[in-house]
């Protein structure tokens, strides 16, 4: 029986000829990423040996720069861990810091066919690089750092065949909201993205789809590799790799077509990402207090430059806080160089340093009682970004930027033609 991309990597990494849905397998892990939350005083258990320091990456991203003494203490512990084991791929607060999932893209840490773990649920973001990447628990990370292995339960795979080209002002975020709105969660299953439409999506756009696949409750999200992807990785990582293609007779739970050309800007209403999408017109006019562009899903150079194009020569509406968070220092420097940051500043946006920050209600834009936020980040759960009475709508960076200008949820097509 043929295998999907996820099944083929699971088989290769567990030393089996085949893997099928229902199997629980032990696999070798190529990359283990630790971040500041792992080192928090109430989470950390001191590791006494590691399988291979060269397979470990450490970054501080959730609470950067440290907003509290505990967050600062976590960084102190993290730096001691890095020193003790001679970890070379360390992204301390400074020049090469960033959200872990953005660093994977910036530095080519995920090779096709490899297995990557991090105890952040959006780790499936790295699946854009044709690998198996999964968010796991903190103890899973400590176990994998020590033993070099982890376990996975193989699920069925849903394949999305992307076709066509996105219209102006419509983004991969809208494509995701379309899938999440129509098909709901994919719990216990993998998602696999492919088809002729992939060629028209930048690597950053594809990464929005894989990062957001965490919200489908997918086990793994994988993309087929193409020349653009292989070029992206080779420009950043000299290690050899072999891309993984699904077998022609792979067994899928379902194969679904998505016509990118037929999509329109969408908005997820508060409290649930799945089964909750509406055309932007249905939410248009809803007053907002805050507009947020950032996170592992939408803090790329593409996203920040798109937001800048929307606001160029205009001003953020009075009473609205427009917060823009580049996902890494590399993205930050690149968007300063391209002029996007200047454009956003002149429009009245505040630029925060690269951090998960307010996406998880941590800092740098937390919401107060009854406040309304339109965000391009990852989650709109009740209380996610702050007070339990606050409400979070979710949309693309274009829709968020357009709404920041008007003070109400707004169709971005009015601003991008």
């Amino acid at each position: 029986m043929g295998m999907t991309i996820a099944e083929k990597i699971l088989a290769a990494k567990s030393g089996r000829k085949t893997v099928a849905p229902g199997d629980v397998v032990t696999v070798d892990v190529d990359t283990v990423i630790l971040f500041d939350n792992n080192f928090m005083p109430n989470n950390w258990r001191e590791i006494l040996q590691v399988a291979d320091p060269a397979k470990i990456v450490v970054t501080f991203d959730h609470r950067v720069p440290a907003p509290t003494q505990q967050a600062a203490a976590a960084q102190v512990t993290g730096r001691a861990f890095v020193r003790k084991f001679g970890i070379k791929r360390f992204h301390d607060v400074g020049h090469n810091q960033g959200i872990s999932h953005q660093l994977v893209a910036d530095y080519g840490y995920a090779l096709p066919g490899s297995v990557l773990l991090c105890s952040d649920s959006h780790t499936c973001s790295a699946g854009v690089f044709n690998c198996l990447a999964r968010g796991v628990g903190g103890p899973d990370i400590i176990y994998a750092a020590i033993k070099g292995q982890t376990w996975f339960r193989c699920g069925e795979t849903v394949r999305y065949e992307l076709g066509g080209t996105l219209p102006a002002a419509v983004t991969a975020k809208d494509a995701f909201l379309q899938i999440a709105g129509v098909h709901g969660d994919h719990a216990t299953m993998n998602v696999e993205y492919g088809g002729p439409g992939v060629a028209g999506l930048s690597i950053n756009a594809r990464k929005t789809l894989t990062a957001m696949s965490a919200e489908l409750s997918a086990e793994f999200a994988t993309f087929e590799a193409d020349a653009a992807l292989e070029q992206w990785i080779r420009a950043r990582n000299p290690a050899p790799f072999m891309s993984v293609r699904p077998d022609g007779n792979a067994q899928y739970h379902a194969v679904r077509q998505v016509d990118l050309a037929a999509l329109e800007p969408l908005v997820a209403l508060p409290d649930s990402v799945v089964n909750n999408s509406q055309p932007v017109g249905r939410a248009a006019g809803t007053r907002i207090d805050q507009a947020y562009v950032g996170s592992c899903a939408n803090g790329t150079q593409d996203d920040i430059e798109l937001a800048a194009r929307v606001v160029r020569g205009r001003r953020v509406a009075p009473g609205v806080r427009f917060i823009v968070v580049p996902a890494s220092q590399t993205v930050y420097r690149d968007t300063v160089a391209s002029g996007a940051v200047q454009t956003l500043l002149e429009a009245g946006a505040m630029i925060a340093p690269p951090t998960c920050g307010a996406c998880g209600g941590g800092h740098m834009g937390v919401l107060g009682p009854e406040e309304v936020c339109l965000t391009s980040s990852t989650r709109n759960f009740k209380g996610r970004m702050g007070d339990p009475s606050s409400r979070v709508y979710m949309a693309s960076p274009a829709t968020v930027a357009a709404s920041a200008l008007t003070g109400v949820i707004t169709d971005p097509r009015e601003f991008l033609n």
């Binding site: 629980v24 032990t26 939350n37 928090m40 005083p41 109430n42 989470n43 258990r45 001191e46 590791i47 006494l48 040996q49 509290t68 505990q70 967050a71 203490a73 105890s119 952040d120 649920s121 999964r134 968010g135 796991v136 628990g137 903190g138 103890p139 899973d140 400590i142 176990y143 020590i146 033993k147 376990w151 339960r153 699920g155 969660d185 719990a187 216990t188 409750s217 086990e219 649930s272 799945v274 998880g360 209600g361 941590g362 989650r379 759960f381 009740k382 209380g383 996610r384 339990p388």
Partner: protein, 169 residues
């Protein structure tokens, strides 16, 4: 492992932000447990008695990788029975040795306050109040073994791979 206690019932798609909200991140495990369902059912955590059983709907524990399962265990719940468990949440149930089972039909088979008897290893769930029985899905053998071993940290500690547990900050 078997458990017998009164049940609490919650719905579908309970997410980890509801179980362990960001505002509790810096607190001790015991203090964090007092914030379970703070946003959607304020005051509930304070009503839970040691040994109580939680019944959930579909995709219980969706969302982040935070140690939400640890909070349910620390709160004193003996086990969780859900229509289905989110894959990442299940990992943390195993990691922290919090007994959790999938049992299709369980949500409709109980009313809050009724008494359940659960045989964890065989995944048999009985509604003692009504005298009805459901068959859930036992954990795969390697995961069951991890739960019986007390979870990941005790395992690594016994092998001398992590330092012994220190007093919490």
């Amino acid at each position: 492992m078997h458990f017998k206690a009164r049940v609490w019932i919650v719905g579908d798609n309970i997410n980890t932000d509801l179980i362990l909200p960001n505002k509790a991140f810096y607190l001790t495990h015991e203090e964090q447990a007092q914030y379970v369902f703070h946003a959607n059912r304020p005051g509930w955590a304070q009503q839970v008695r040691p040994g109580d059983i939680l019944i959930g709907g579909r995709n219980f524990g969706m969302g982040s990788s935070r140690a939400a399962a640890r909070s349910l265990k620390t709160l004193g719940l003996s086990c969780l029975i859900a229509e289905s468990l989110n894959g990442l949440f299940l990992r943390n149930c195993v990691n922290f040795a919090f007994p959790a089972l999938e049992c299709p039909g369980v949500h409709a088979a109980f009313t809050e306050g009724e008494v359940a008897a659960v045989e964890f290893d065989t995944a048999q769930v009985r509604n003692v109040t009504r005298g009805t029985t459901l068959q859930g899905k036992p954990l795969p053998a390697p995961l069951m073994a991890l739960v019986h071993a007390g979870g990941v940290y005790p395992l690594l500690e016994r092998e001398g791979l992590i330092a012994p547990k220190r007093q919490q900050a």
